[in-house]
Symmetry: C6
Subunit: 71 residues, 6 copies
Amino acid sequence: MTTELDTGLPSIRQIQTVIREETEVELKLITNDLLTGKIRWQDAHCLCLMDHYDQPTVVWRTALVYLKPKL
Amino acid sequence: MTTELDTGLPSIRQIQTVIREETEVELKLITNDLLTGKIRWQDAHCLCLMDHYDQPTVVWRTALVYLKPKL
Amino acid sequence: MTTELDTGLPSIRQIQTVIREETEVELKLITNDLLTGKIRWQDAHCLCLMDHYDQPTVVWRTALVYLKPKL
Amino acid sequence: MTTELDTGLPSIRQIQTVIREETEVELKLITNDLLTGKIRWQDAHCLCLMDHYDQPTVVWRTALVYLKPKL
Amino acid sequence: MTTELDTGLPSIRQIQTVIREETEVELKLITNDLLTGKIRWQDAHCLCLMDHYDQPTVVWRTALVYLKPKL
Amino acid sequence: MTTELDTGLPSIRQIQTVIREETEVELKLITNDLLTGKIRWQDAHCLCLMDHYDQPTVVWRTALVYLKPKL
């Protein structure tokens, strides 16, 4: 399994920014679920989203559709 | 994760054109969502689409179905 | 991203034939969309389909289900 | 794109048998389509299925769910 | 196409056990189909499931969701 | 098939923690199934989930959407 994140990529950096600034985001998944929360970390396989009750959800990258800031 | 975009490919160049010319496009996703807006950037994992309110949506390539100019 | 098309493969050659002969085809996608038109080009990531109004649709290979000649 | 078929694998050989013996098969796809016909060829990306009117359908391997002989 | 099965992996060994012991299993697929039967063989691309009438179904690994013993 | 798990990744370690601490988790799958139980092991292809009756379900990683602790 590939395990390196290329931090030169805009998409990886955008998520790093969202983590650092604790931006609330919407995450659309291939099951049509729409999760909201703050991203805590990313690695080569997954993102971790914290919800309003500070519960972590580990989301697989293969299930990601889109991410946008929650308005 | 593969991080190089082969800018010699028609599909990569077509998206570069759409970015440069700020063409409004429709983006169909595997969830059946149809997003419209202008593409801001592309990298090996994602495209970034700006909507009418200039809000960015980062879309994963694995979720892309088709792209066409909005008429 | 892999960028070479192996033109020795039957599937790649069949699409090259369909491009050269301007055959009208049906393209079934994983969203269950059925697109019809003529294929203009293929590369390692995408096909480009021209519809009846000569509008291009760039379709990602990961979204392809089947292709057949339109009767 | 990987282009070699490993003809030592049971799954590749089973399809070779089905091609050679012109067995009628059912092919279930991720769109839930169920195609029936005879397989004409396989390569690293696709299978080609001939229907009852001898029309070819090129099916991408990424869209395959299962194959079984039609009873 | 990758063709080696790593027989040191728990998931590969668990399926080998199920084959050897002729355990009846349920196989959930991405189309939401639930197949039941005994697994005859596995390779890098597929599993082969025998149903109650001893008819083989070749299932692609990309379509697998879960496997469990039938109770 | 890639068979090494990179135990330095947060996502792999988080699952190791959940295994060691026998945390009850919810596992959302691409079929929209929501499984609950305790994870017994993980490898490069699969996770194994034990349900309340101590029955194992082998889940393919390609089918994973998200994992969270059951509250």
